[in-house]
Every structure is written in C-alpha cells, then in structure tokens.
C-alpha cells in the first residue's frame, strides 16, 4: 500500500498578524508545519507501521507545494518517519485551491497511491476544501473530518468515524480513497491497522522526531516537480481583494463581584 500525505507550512499561528497595504505581511514570520498536517502524517504512520516491529504495511510519502528552498517542514515529516518526499516548487501563496488540488491529484495518479491523507484544514487559510476537491478530481470516495480510522488486516477498505454536526457518522470507504483528519484522530487508540496489537496505545498527539529520525531524514529522497511538469496552471478564478483586521470588540468592563455581574446582566445587558 502507498499513502500520500499532503502537508503545508504556515506562519506561526501564535504570532500576531501584521497588516499592511490591504494584506498581511508575513515577511518576518516564523514558519511552522500546519498542526492538522502533523495529525495526517501521524495517521498515515499508524496505518503503515507495525508497532514494536520494523515491518511496514505501507510506504508513506509526504507532499508539499512550497518554494523548494523552504521545505524544512517536509524534512521534519521525513524525520517523523515518512519514507520520502515530493515537493512541487512554487510560491504556494500565489496558487489557488483549484490549482493546489490538481497538483495533489496529479501526484497521486503518478505515484498510484491507495490513499491520500490530509489535514481537515490549514490553520492560516482555513479553506477546508482541498481533500474534498482531490476526491472529486480523482473520482475516489472520501471520508472527511475523521476522528477514528480502522483497517482490517490487508483490507481494501477503511472504516472511518467522522465528526458531523449532530454526532458521529461511521462510513466505510473502499480504497483508493481520500481521507481528511480532525484533531481527535491522534488520541492513543484512534487509528488501527489490523496488524498492530489491538490494545496498543500510541502517545497522545503527533509523535516527535527521534534523533535517529532527524539524521535519517537528511538522506531520504525528495523529488522536485514544477507545476508545469505536472501540467497544472493557476486557474485565476479566485481573487483576494483585501485582507483586513476584524472590527475590534468594544472593550468590556471588569466587575468586582458575582452580585455586580448578575445585576449588570439583568439591567445593563438585559440578557437575563
């Protein structure tokens, strides 16, 4: 089995935004991997590995669209345990969702992968649409917002618990397929592959790279493409007109006691 995981670098979400000229100035930002992509890589690794053994049930390939000189996040995911990388060398901030999805779909086709795993959204752009688009472009089934993923030994399908508005939906999807993961997919027993012992508990959250992993990552293969190589042009049908700070909330007041609070809620805010 082959698993392609899509990953992205984002400006550190804990840094404050610098607004300039109707946009945001990221020139001095620290870049970090998107947290949901860490969960996606962790999901793929848990599906691929046999805990406690060196056996692998799948090859995990990480893919990113980014300037090829700025692929530290790819190296980081290789250090976590992915086998190899694919980088599409482009300034991803100039490509729209339509183009990014086509790049991913084309790499999935060329690599003949069985599964694409993606984070449910990027914390910066919050588009929440790339995995669904890739599912459509590949004409594959999709399971989005996954909280649990189960695969029976050698099965050609996954059973996915998806977080939906009114609860949890359990969806069986035949492979090849596209999976988008939500944050609870990295709880200790959220992913099982039918080979790793059923009672195995993983760490909570995405794993940290080991020292050995970091050394190995430098030797792992990263293939570089350009959008042209993959036959994809920017669509030009999404235009950003402006990015502005949200209107500030009028500043509130501190109250001295529960009595004052409830009194103000009653007479001033009139919400009781």
């Amino acid at each position: 089995m082959k698993i392609l995981v899509t990953v992205k670098r984002i400006p550190d979400p804990d840094e404050s935004l610098k607004f300039a000229d109707g946009g945001v100035d990221y020139s001095s930002s620290k870049w970090v991997p998107n947290a949901f992509d860490e969960y996606a890589v962790e999901t793929a690794l848990r599906l691929a590995e046999v805990a406690g053994s060196k056996d692998r049930l799948a090859e995990v390939i990480v893919m990113s669209v980014c300037p090829q000189g700025q692929r530290q996040h790819v190296t980081q995911f290789l250090a976590m345990g992915a086998e190899r990388g694919v980088v599409v060398d482009a300034d991803d901030s100039t490509l729209d969702s339509i183009a990014i999805s086509k790049l991913i779909a084309e790499v999935a086709r060329r690599e003949e992968v069985d599964l694409v795993v993606a984070g449910k959204l990027s914390q910066d752009n919050e588009g929440n649409q790339i995995p669904q688009r890739v599912g459509g472009l590949l004409n594959w089934p999709q399971a989005c917002f996954a909280a649990e993923v189960r695969r029976d030994k050698d099965a050609k399908e996954l059973t996915v618990s998806r977080e939906v508005d009114d609860g949890v939906e359990i969806k069986k999807i035949p492979l090849p397929a596209v999976l988008s993961v939500d944050l609870r997919v990295v709880l200790p027993t959220s992913v099982s592959n039918g080979v790793t012992a059923a009672d195995h508990r993983y760490q909570e959250g995405a794993r940290l790279a080991s020292l050995r992993g970091i050394t190995m990552a430098k030797r792992k293969k990263v293939q570089i493409f350009t959008p042209d190589d993959l036959g994809v042009q920017n669509s030009g049908s999404e235009t950003t007109r402006a990015i502005n700070p949200p209107p500030a909330r009028p500043s509130g007041q501190m109250v001295a006691s529960a009595e004052e609070l409830v009194e103000k809620l009653k007479t001033e805010a009139k919400v009781l």
Partner: protein
C-alpha cells in the same frame, strides 16, 4: 442570468433550521448579482419536502428537485454528482448553503468537478458579491472575488439571520434524473448526540467550561447554570481533550462556531483557537482566576475569581433573578 442555487438539507422530510442562515446569505448574493434565488432538494423522493419549502416561499422563485435513491443517506460522493448535474441543468451562477458538515463535505467536491472556486465560511456579502470570510482563526477577514461560469460558497451559520418563511410560493420543478454514485461507500451508522438541550450552534445562551474545571464531575454546576438559562453546554478544547466532556461540545476554530446572545466562559483562558469560535457572541461573560487571561480581552463583563467561589453565587443570583 446569475441565479443562486441553495442546496437544502432535510431531516425526516422537514427542512433543517440550520439551512436558514445559508438561504439569507444566498439571497444577499442574488440581490448583489441581480439574480434569482433557487433551491435544490436531493432525495430518493423529494416531492413532498420540495412542496413544503416551495409553499413557505423564502423569496425563492423555483425549487428544483432531483430524485435518486443514492442521495439517502447523505454521502458527499452522490450529492456532489447531483449538485453538478443540477448546476448544469439550471445554469446557476452561484451554488451554496450553510456551512454544515454535509455541505462542507460535498460542495468542494462538486466545485472541483466543475473547475469552480469556492469561498468557505462566508460571514458577509459585499458589493459586486465580493464575499468576506475569516482566516487565521478569525484574526483577519479576507475579501474574495470569484470569476468563472459558476462559483460556490458556504455561509457561516452564526453570521446570517435565519431566513423567514413568507412571500409568494415558489414553483417546483423536477430536474431530469442524473447518475449519482456513492463510489462504493457505505454509511454504517450515525450516532446522534442525545441531549435535551438546544444545539450548540443554535442556542441563545452558551455556558462553557475550560481546563480550570479540572474534571468532568465539576461540569455539573455549569450544567445547572446552562439549564437555568435554557442554553447549551460548551467547552474549550483543553476540557474536551482531557475527557471532561464529549468532544462534540468543543467550541473553537476546530469545533463549533457559536454566536449566542449570551456566552459565559468559566475557567477558560481564551486561546486564539477558542476565541475564533465564540467572539461573535453578543454578550460575553468571563470568569477566571487569572486576571491576565486573554479571555478578558473579548469579554463584556469580566470577573476575576475561582469558579469554586463564584459559580455557586452566580447560580443563586440567577435563580433569584429568574424568579423575580
């Protein structure tokens, strides 16, 4: 013709109330574009649902129906096929609806099949139908314009008032049947959250607890306040991750986005990701023992104190206020 097509969702034949803000957003886009408002009903047998919606009006001119057993239960795969066929048959210029988990699943897939742009979680409609959406956990607002024969949107439910029934009845028109396939998927089960309280995203009052509540048992006092106010219970990610309350109570960038009349945050520090899910609330109350907690920056009323001391007092006072 730049008509706006809204994809509707039903529960046991009744229009889901979560669809109503999406209709309002669509109407604003239609008005900005000079187009008509149209509805789409996808179901095994959509006639009765469509008639009910058509007679309620909502400002729509036509309710289109497409019948196919593959549309039930919901799958993104079959619905995207149906939406694509409906867009082609109706020549809609804009397609969308409320950003429910179903439409966030199906609409981007349909958009890809039509090579169309999609604007997610729209919070405002501007001139020339430029759509505004929050990015970076609501710390910035992006104005997006879409070109192309057709474009898609999802509307953030908390940012548009629910559409109201009324006006002339809409016409019902059956679209020609189209292929729709689930691509071999099976929906095994939907485990619905059982609650006697209103849904988080629709409640007029939300009471949320955070890490400082320490354990699930302590949420009982919050639940009492919640029920006293007729509201919904929420939680920060720290509280749901720690297993104090179920995950679907999480309010924030990665959980539910809420905008009630009154939001009470107890023992929540106010991480950016949490603020993204509740700062649209009309009145925000924060109770936290740490006076430096970021939650106080968005609160209309802040009370520095331990929940163990303040909550019992608040409960008694609210009880008295309600009785009075």
């Amino acid at each position: 013709m730049s008509n706006v097509l809204v994809v509707l969702e039903f529960s046991d034949g009744t229009l889901k109330s979560s669809c109503l803000p999406g209709i309002t957003c669509a109407k604003q886009i239609a008005d900005a574009n000079g187009g008509e408002l149209h509805f789409l009903v996808l179901a095994a047998d959509p006639a009765a649902s469509a008639e009910a919606v058509a007679s309620a009006g909502f400002g729509a001119s036509t309710v289109h129906t497409m019948a196919n057993p593959a549309f039930e239960p919901f799958t993104a795969e079959a619905w995207a096929d149906g939406i694509v066929a409906a867009v082609r048959a109706t020549n809609a210029a804009v397609v969308g609806g409320t950003a429910s988990s179903s439409l966030r699943d199906a609409l981007p897939r349909a958009a890809a099949l039509l090579d169309a742009a999609l604007t997610s979680e729209v919070t405002a409609v501007g001139a020339e139908a430029v759509l505004t959406r929050p990015i970076s956990a609501g710390r910035a607002l992006l104005d997006q314009a879409s070109s192309g024969a057709v474009s898609f949107f999802t509307a953030r439910g908390s940012e548009f008032p629910p559409a109201e029934a009324g006006g002339a009845a809409a016409a019902v028109a059956a679209l020609p049947p189209a292929d729709a396939s689930t691509r071999g998927v099976t929906v095994v089960d939907v485990q619905k959250t059982q609650s006697s309280r209103p849904a988080l995203s629709e409640a007029e009052v939300v009471v949320s607890g955070g890490r400082g509540m320490r354990e699930g048992e302590n949420f009982k006092m919050l639940e009492e306040l919640t029920d006293l106010l007729g509201g919904a219970l929420g939680a920060s990610r720290a509280a749901t991750d720690a297993g104090m309350v179920p995950a679907d109570l999480q309010v924030g960038q990665t959980g539910k986005i809420v905008a009630p009349d009154l939001y009470i945050a107890v023992a929540i520090s106010g991480a950016i990701q949490h603020l993204a899910g509740m700062k649209g609330s009309k009145t925000i109350v924060a109770v936290n023992k740490d006076e430096e907690a970021p939650i106080f920056q968005v609160a209309d009323y802040g009370l520095v104190g331990k929940w163990e001391d303040e909550l019992p007092k608040i409960l008694e006072l609210v009880k008295a206020a309600k009785a009075g």
